[in-house]
Subunit: 339 residues, 4 copies
């Protein structure tokens, strides 16, 4: 068994970069560092269709990631329990039954499929000159210093994926303490899209930032999304917030400021697109917690095993993947905007 | 001419409450109070199809809201201009041409159609015992006092639609000052869904909060969305954030706290659903602004006419409408969750 | 009141040919000749959105065709009756209520909206060099003579729209006799698509001929569809049926025969696309018929008023319209087939 | 490698009948009798998700059918050839490249996935009391005798799947002769749906017979589809064709005749639904054929290996599967028709 994904609608003739796919799956995998869960997962994958002689064929691309560990686990402790802030209760109520093995569709393992699909989308975007970089900008109360430079090249230089080395150290330190307590902590990921052409996004419902927002909010543990000035816009005046159009030296129209976050009226304007994503603390603790079982009786759930003390280091490639999928979709949709 | 909306998929046999539809359109309309734009718009509507003898027939429901003012306006000042933080530039670039009259699809007038459709959705939800209340929780730096009670019945008692009368007064005062300056200010709307059954929302991509998020982010001027603990979750520990399951006196399972915002694993858990929506300051100012014209030449755009100094009082029914549409969709989808 | 249609996804910059739109609506309208219903319908239309300075803007294009006759009709004779082979019974059972005025969504009037939308699609296809011609190839037992030439230019020269003048005369004669009896008769329409580029259609489910088939079968009174060799292929051998590839004088690959009907593996191959559509005799008769009422009691329904003795002359522009919509959709979809 | 299918939207709680799934795959498989291809295919399958403790969970159901034969075949004879009436040319032109191994997406192997998915749909329909039976009604010029009874129980009693034993013998004899010549022959499949409730199907575009038609036309080698009176309706009068409503002994409304084929206005009326599907002769011959290669040069393609002399015996379960999928979809859609 394992997890799989089918990518439909990818144009034919796209060259496949297996290194990129492998690398992104590695960036998401458990056990990659001391601050993530040590759970064992393979990220070996099999491309089952859609690629021929190193290029896409226009066929649905099916990728399968087998489970490493085929031995049957002991789920007896969760069969009858509703774990706090997990999806156990809602799934059981919605469907009348529940596949408790590995968490089923609400398992974080599901995000491996997103990363695999996103890697394909990134290859398409690369062809069109679009780059995506996500990074950790906050863990608990420790955030990136707004006065300090951000060097995107340093993101992968530390295990938390924060582009400010000294802030990264503080974040790592905090996570280690949290882990020691068997507790977890929330975090924030910021994402930057560079090189996006003008014109992506649709009026009214499928605004570019709305589709990005839905994509982010569909990731496990996400609680909020803001783009451009975001929640900060609430306290701003229009005269401060408006982005004045200017013409640069080479005659290209751009804006002086970028509170719009690269999107105006739901459509990309050629400036950098940026947004933030809020993650809650992981619900699995290595602590005893009160709850009820499926009969509604009060129980105590004992934390045991391995857990992610903070989800954000492993969520960076997931945010990038979902971003790439949304931008790729809009890039293709935009091909019919004009006759 | 006017604006119209077609609602497909509404079950037959739903009783139509015209008062609700009329009232919601009135709550959105310009000129309703001293703190909104005095622009003239009719909210008379014609139901063109889908209703027979006071009930829905299962046919698409078409509602048309004619323009009041049929005389041709003078658009010469915007034909060649790219107004800052409007959609003029991106629409022109995407489509190669631009209907500058009234802003076209990026006009705030478009939201009347959302409110009309939302009123239908509210009728469906009412049938199932679900209530939706949105209200203004922040204007500029003035927010609702978290220590003070909120009385939902007072929302419509003041022109800002804030359920704390003294906070409402401060907000109104601020907007009046901003208006005097020809400037604008941002704001925040909070929304509460009560009576939502357990089980709405779909795993993976169409999580209930993700669809709500997309719906909110598709509203003009929205910059951010958070549900439950939202961005506040970043600084919380799992042991604080987890919602412990309890069994109440009548044997119903609920949770002690509600940081989950009524949604776990993307599926409603029967608790109150709540979320916040951030609005930027309106881009139209009654002030001179620098910009460029369609030839890229620097110009000055003179503010004139009428404007909304703050969008939130009129956006309350829009937030409710989009919420109702999302919940109605998921209510119908959920009818096939079990055999 | 009236009937309306919203066309979404039309690229911007398409020049609008109002004459084409007007002409196609005229070709469908009642009262156009002695062999169609003399019912009164206006085909005046209002384009409510999507066009600016004679070109599409990328906005949904809304077209409204008002009813000519606003006076309330007397429907008392059908309120409680289930007319044989009409949709009265199935609609009533499905929806629990029924808007009997004018037949509602099952009315033939609904096809005016298809013709209007199809005219827009034809403008797009014309831009890409694609032509569509439908014509009547059979009425009752009178069919086109396969040994005689077909001259597409003569289609509109007779009121039955058959491209063989002497066959047309026989068909018209038959319809006049049928009409005198208050009866109706079936017919067949053939359609030819010329200039379709290679590559339209999608593998597996959305094969080009499958989408054409669904479109045709969605037209009122259609009972069958066949493309290329069609039902005739049943009695053929592969060695007769296979279309041998050849290279013509200018080096273009084509096929010697065209039993494939211009589509191979669901994808257009650059040859002419052709198909046939079978129409049943119209269900409305000017004769007494037995039936039951909504209480299940036996009744006699008296035919009265005006009726179409044969649907095919007016259905020719409807077949063309649905064909144009399908080809336009696949033309746009195909823009993302290759990187 | 192999072929897979993902079934989304199946309600939870449906009991899985593995025997039905296995049996239907066996009915489609090569090598099952003397009149079908002797090509080697396994029909072993792996259910990868969506089933837990013998019931559906509401999760997408993924079924994988591995290839039996993993050794690499020799495709050198087709790499550069465009086989007559195959999809080689159109795929190559559409996508710019072509995966020639096994025919890719245009391979008949693709229909195994349809049969697997259809088996799931059949389980759902069985729960609602709906039965589907398809059978061969014509091979070449040999058709079912309309004056003779049809006994659905005999369909599986002969290798051609024709419910008239003596007609079956003649069909089998014909196919054997055709096979000896290395040639192929067309055929017709008829399908009967019993027990379908009133109300399935949607007005206007998604009429029940239109969706059935598209589903049939999406099957490889299908050239035509007709339902109820079909192409025969062309020569009929309305007074003959109309189905008179009657009330039976137990007070149920039905129709005296059933030219409507169980569907009126696109919606099922509770009578038997029936339709015919025309299949062309298989394009692969064991004969030499002229064609061109990818450079447009004339070549001779030598037939070799194994082939299906007539597609219909193996297509019976495919027609049933696609029928079951369409009816299941409409059954679920109909759950929201009324409040």
């Amino acid at each position: 068994m394992g997890i799989g994904v089918v990518i439909d609608g990818c144009p034919s003739g796209l060259e496949i970069d297996l290194d990129l796919l492998t690398k992104d799956l590695q960036r998401r995998r458990p056990g990659q560092s001391a601050i993530v869960t040590q759970r064992s997962e393979t990220e070996d994958y099999i491309i089952q269709s859609g690629i021929f002689e190193g290029k896409t064929t226009g066929t649905p691309i099916s990728i399968f990631i087998p489970n490493k560990d085929q031995k049957s686990k002991d789920y007896s402790h969760i069969v009858d329990s509703y774990r706090p802030s997990h999806a156990d209760y809602t799934y059981a109520q919605k469907y009348g039954n529940r596949d408790y093995r590995g968490g089923g569709r609400s398992s974080a393992r599901e995000t491996a499929a997103r990363v695999a699909a996103g890697a394909l989308a990134k290859m398409l975007l690369k062809y069109y000159g679009i780059q995506i970089h996500a990074y950790v900008s906050q863990v608990g109360s420790i955030s990136i210093d707004p006065k300090q430079e951000i060097d995107l090249d340093t993101i992968e230089s530390n295990i938390i994926r924060c582009p400010q080395p000294d802030t990264a150290d503080k974040m790592i330190q905090l996570i280690k303490e949290i882990k020691k307590d068997g507790d977890t902590i929330g975090g924030k990921i910021s994402c930057l899209i560079q090189g996006c052409p003008v014109g992506l996004g649709e009026p009214v419902f499928d605004k570019l930032h709305a589709d990005l927002g839905k994509a982010m909010l569909s990731i496990n543990a996400v609680k909020g999304y803001e783009y451009g000035s975001g929640f900060g816009a609430i306290a701003m005046k229009g005269s401060e917030h408006n982005d004045v159009f200017i013409k640069d030296a080479v005659g290209k129209i751009s804006t002086k400021s970028n509170h719009s976050g690269g999107i105006q009226g739901g459509i990309s304007n050629g400036m950098d697109i940026y947004f933030n994503v809020a993650f809650k603390p992981v619900a699995t603790l290595i602590k005893d917690q009160k709850s009820v079982n499926t009969s509604g009786e009060e129980i105590t759930i004992s934390g045991k095993g391995r857990h992610d003390p903070c989800v954000v280091p492993r969520a960076v490639p997931i945010v990038e993947a979902m971003t790439a999928l949304v931008i790729a979709d809009h890039l293709l949709r935009n091909k019919t905007a004009r006759i």
